[in-house]
């Protein structure tokens, strides 16, 4: 879990950017396609309504030419005396009847010739019960049935009007019906207003359909609607003869508002509906375009979706790869940088990845370099300063010490102990020589011991031999290098502070190797003391000190500065028992100028 979180922490940048990109790519592609589809739909519907509006116009003019032909035929029948005679005369001889029938046939053939092209059958029924039919193929209705037809009554009710009427047609042997549309009109004597017959110009619905059928297609239908809401003709045959009041309402609405088209729901489908009124027929021609079908033709949703998915997919793969490349190197860099611990400036980051991260790594490494240089410079300067300080301090041999020592020697000379005076002077000379003359930083334990011995000798000369100093130095440590005058301040300290209560005692100097380090221990069996929280030795400022500037207090600082935090001084003390000072130093054989801050690059 935590590992995953860790991982997420490092991939957070990548994930965040990638998710944002995925979301925006998808959003953009979806919104762009949606908008485009919307726009094209609207454009399409507009164009469609314009072209189909023209189509409706053409259908209308087709119907008008049909009407013209029918009206011509109707007028001819109306004006024909032969027809009138046929329909009004009573009985007669066979010869006379034969003549009438012959003439009627001739007359009607002539009239029918004009509407032959429309495949219209003409029937006329007369007040005298006679029926004449040019052909009964369209509507094989028996004479008696024709007289009882509701459309006969309708024609008689409005004798001056040419009515277009619909009938389901007659059932044939197979139980099928072929719907028909008949133009009916009563034949009326103009003078008296007496109706002497009815004429029927019958065409099959399939014939009527010809005027619009070529404009229809799978989702593009035409419906002809009578003014009482009956579907009179349609390329969708199952609709013929059905009532569609809602469609009629839509048609009337379109015609009333004179709009180009309207969205209408019909047969559970959304349609674009166009309509026009056929005034001669008292019918409405309605064009229904199935929206789903039409737009389905326009927009291949499946392929659009597939293309979108493909594009988004490709884009995402590309983005993924680019982003991964970008962020991976960045992440690695961040990881490396954060792994570098506080004081460990030696880990350089690997220069790899994209240009940006390479630059960053370069800059980082360069910065590390700079840092190294500065730190080194600083250390060097400090060391120099310290050395200078030290040098200056070494040169400040306490005048009191000199004065006291020289005074002691004078007394020895006056007393006549020349030997001792000469030894003292030798020790002082050696001490001074070491303190002033030797400028090198470190000295071997052997040299340091010589100095100590000289110093102790002088002190014993001056203050008597009540404090004895013993040296225990491991032979292998003789060559070890230590900073100059590192032990002397502690000896001095023990001399002047450890034996105030006690009058005599010992001071031990032990030098040994311990785990690769050099340990110098200065222990006394003197007064000891209560160690406060500072665990510091009392500050010495006395005329008895060899050097005015070097004290136990700054030895520790010096050591830490020179060798690092793990080195330094540890003091333990017990009242009445004595004090122990442990100096821990790296074990070095060769004297060297620079110790720890060596540049490694």
């Amino acid at each position: 879990m935590k590992r995953y979180f860790e991982k997420f922490k490092y991939h957070g940048l990548f994930l965040k950017m990638f998710i944002i990109l995925v979301v925006s790519i998808i959003a953009v592609s979806v919104s762009v396609s949606w908008t485009t589809i919307r726009i094209s739909e609207r454009l399409f519907i507009n164009t469609f309504s314009i072209t189909n509006g023209k189509v409706i116009g053409q259908i209308k003019s087709g119907f008008e030419s049909l009407n013209t032909a029918i009206v011509t035929a109707v007028n001819n029948i109306q004006q024909s005396g032969t027809v009138k005679q046929f329909l009004t005369e009573g009985g007669g001889s066979s010869l006379a009847l034969s003549k009438t029938y012959y003439n009627m046939n001739k007359q009607m053939k002539q009239i029918a010739y004009n509407v032959d092209a429309f495949e219209i059958d003409i029937s006329v029924t007369g007040a005298n019960g006679r029926v004449y039919a040019t052909n009964r193929a369209n509507w094989p209705i028996a004479d008696e049935a024709l007289k009882r037809e509701p459309m006969t009554a309708a024609a008689k009710a409005q004798p001056r009007r040419l009515l277009y009427q619909y009938s389901d047609g007659l059932e044939n042997e197979n139980g099928e019906r072929e719907p028909i549309i008949a133009a009916t009109k009563a034949l009326m004597e103009r003078s008296s207003g007496k109706i002497y017959g009815v004429m029927y110009l019958v065409m099959k619905e399939s014939q009527f359909k010809r005027y619009y059928e070529s404009y229809t297609s799978e989702g593009n239908h035409v419906v002809v609607l009578s003014n009482d809401g009956v579907i009179v003709s349609s390329d969708r045959e199952e609709l013929i003869g059905q009532r569609a009041p809602d469609l009629l309402a839509h048609a009337l609405d379109i015609e009333k508002r004179e709009i180009d088209y309207k969205d209408a729901r019909f047969m559970d489908k959304d349609n674009i509906m166009l309509a026009d009124y056929l005034s001669f027929y008292d019918m409405h021609v309605v064009n229904l375009i199935d929206k789903q079908w039409a737009l389905g033709q326009l927009i291949d949703t499946k392929s659009i979706v597939l293309i979108c998915i493909a594009i988004v997919g490709v884009a995402l793969i590309i983005v993924f790869l680019i982003f991964r490349r970008l962020t991976r190197s960045l992440t690695r860099l961040v990881k490396q940088i954060s792994n570098i611990s506080k004081y460990d400036f030696h880990h350089y980051v690997a220069v790899s990845g994209s240009f940006e991260t390479r630059q960053l790594a370069h800059a980082f490494n360069f910065m590390l370099d700079e840092l190294h240089v500065y730190v080194e410079e600083l250390v060097k300067t400090q060391k120099k300063q310290r050395n200078a300080e030290l040098a200056a301090l070494q040169r400040q041999i306490n005048p009191h010490f000199l004065y006291n020592t020289l005074a002691s020697i004078k007394i020895m000379v006056q007393r006549g102990s020349r030997e001792k005076a000469a030894d003292t002077i030798n020790a002082l000379i050696s001490l001074l020589q070491n303190a002033i003359g030797n400028v090198s930083e470190t000295v071997s334990i052997e040299q340091e011991l010589d100095n100590l011995k000289s110093y102790v000798f002088i002190n014993q000369v001056r203050y008597g031999e009540r404090i004895k100093v013993n040296y225990f130095v491991a032979p292998d440590c003789m060559e070890a290098q230590v900073p100059k005058l590192i032990i002397q301040p502690f000896i001095e300290n023990a001399f002047f502070h450890a034996f105030n209560a006690k009058q005599e005692g010992y001071i031990y100097v032990l030098v040994a190797q311990e785990g690769g380090d050099l340990v110098c221990e200065i222990a006394d069996n003197g007064d000891g003391m209560e160690l406060g929280d500072g665990s510091k030795l009392p500050k010495a400022s006395s005329s008895r000190q060899l050097f005015t500037g070097i004290g136990v207090s700054n030895v520790n600082d010096r050591l830490k500065l020179l060798y690092g935090e793990s080195y330094g001084i540890a003091i333990t003390s017990e009242p009445e028992q004595g004090t122990q000072v442990r100096i821990r130093l790296p074990f070095q054989r060769e004297p060297e100028d620079n110790t720890s801050f060596q540049q490694s690059s």
Partner: protein, 439 residues
Amino acid sequence: MKKKLATVLLSGMLLLSACASNSNNDAGGTNEEASGGGNAKAGASEVTVWAWDPNFNIKALNIAADLYKKDHPDFKLNIVENAQEDVVQKLNTSLGAGTTKGLPNIVLIEDYRSQSFLQAFPDMFHELTGTFKAEDFAQYKIGPTSVDGKNYGLPFDSGVTGLFVRTDYLEQAGYKVADLQNLTWDDFIEIGKKVKEATGKPMISLDPNDLGIIRIMIQTAGSWYMDKDGKAPYLVGNEALKEAFDVYKRIMEADIVKPHSDWSQFLANFNSGEVASVPTGNWINASIKAEASQSGKWAVVPIPKLASQPDTVNASNLGGSSWYVLNVDGKETAADFLASTFGANVDFYQQLVTDIGAIGTYSPASSGAAYEAADPFYGNQKTIADFAKWTDSIPRVNYGSSTYAIEDVLVVEMQNFLSGKAIDDVLKDAQQQAEAQMQ
């Protein structure tokens, strides 16, 4: 990085909008709907036929197809029903244009018209000589179906005529069926007058625009509108025609006619009992029997003959048609289908008689049990046997190629004749017009 991102997005958008606008092209417009017209694209085992009359010809075809399928399971007969006028018009249009595209394998053609097609378009028809035995068929059918001795048509139904009479009306006028055998048209007029007197019913229903009855009359005397070669109109000097015109006029003058103007009124006239007799082809049988309430009130007697002509017989023909194979792909299958059913199958003809009452012209079949059946509708008369008998004596005439063209002229001249124009003038004028039309 930002730049790259923008490029990816931008190109994506362009692509998207491009593909959205792409599919715009195939919108709008309306698709033309292919109408299912004649389908001659029949496979080897699919045969298309054009015929009319679902109660008669089409039923016969279905029976034949079922029989043929027993031996040829792959066979499929595609029957396209068209009115006879449509068949004639479509044939004329296609053949006149010199193409057989859209035409069927088999077509039914009325005998009166067959020569006009066979002579005008000899290459368009597939010769059937040898696929059937021509001598097995009624000889009067061979003339119309062949050219120069080659058979092109397989004879189908007989147009043998009879005089269908209402026995009840005749009895009221004092006639029995036995009195009506071998009448002349003069006898017919006399009987008609008596019947009208007794019952008030006209003897006959006639359409003044259809001279079928004239054709019946002249064929009893072995005469036709055209000469023996079928080339020239034969009106002037045609004694049989002259007498037929005279008879027609006398029928009219006897006032025993009820006119009709079309087929349905014709049927209505006898189904409603308005007329006492129907002199016409046997194919009217089904229509007469359609009025079941008149069962037992009908009989069929031989068609009257012209009184004054030599060699006249009481047998004639009206209508009747034959099958023709067109010279299109699949003609061999079509010819085989016709030859093995209509051309040779006795059982098939028996079935035709029992199922449809259709009388063929295939002589070997005319003696089966079905032909000997008595029909209760006609008072147990063996009508089929009678028709078959009369078929054999129908005089053979050459219908020529212009029967209907000449008749159109005659219809007009008949009216003139009825109005008082002299018969010789009538025939002379008709002859002139007919000759003018045929040139």
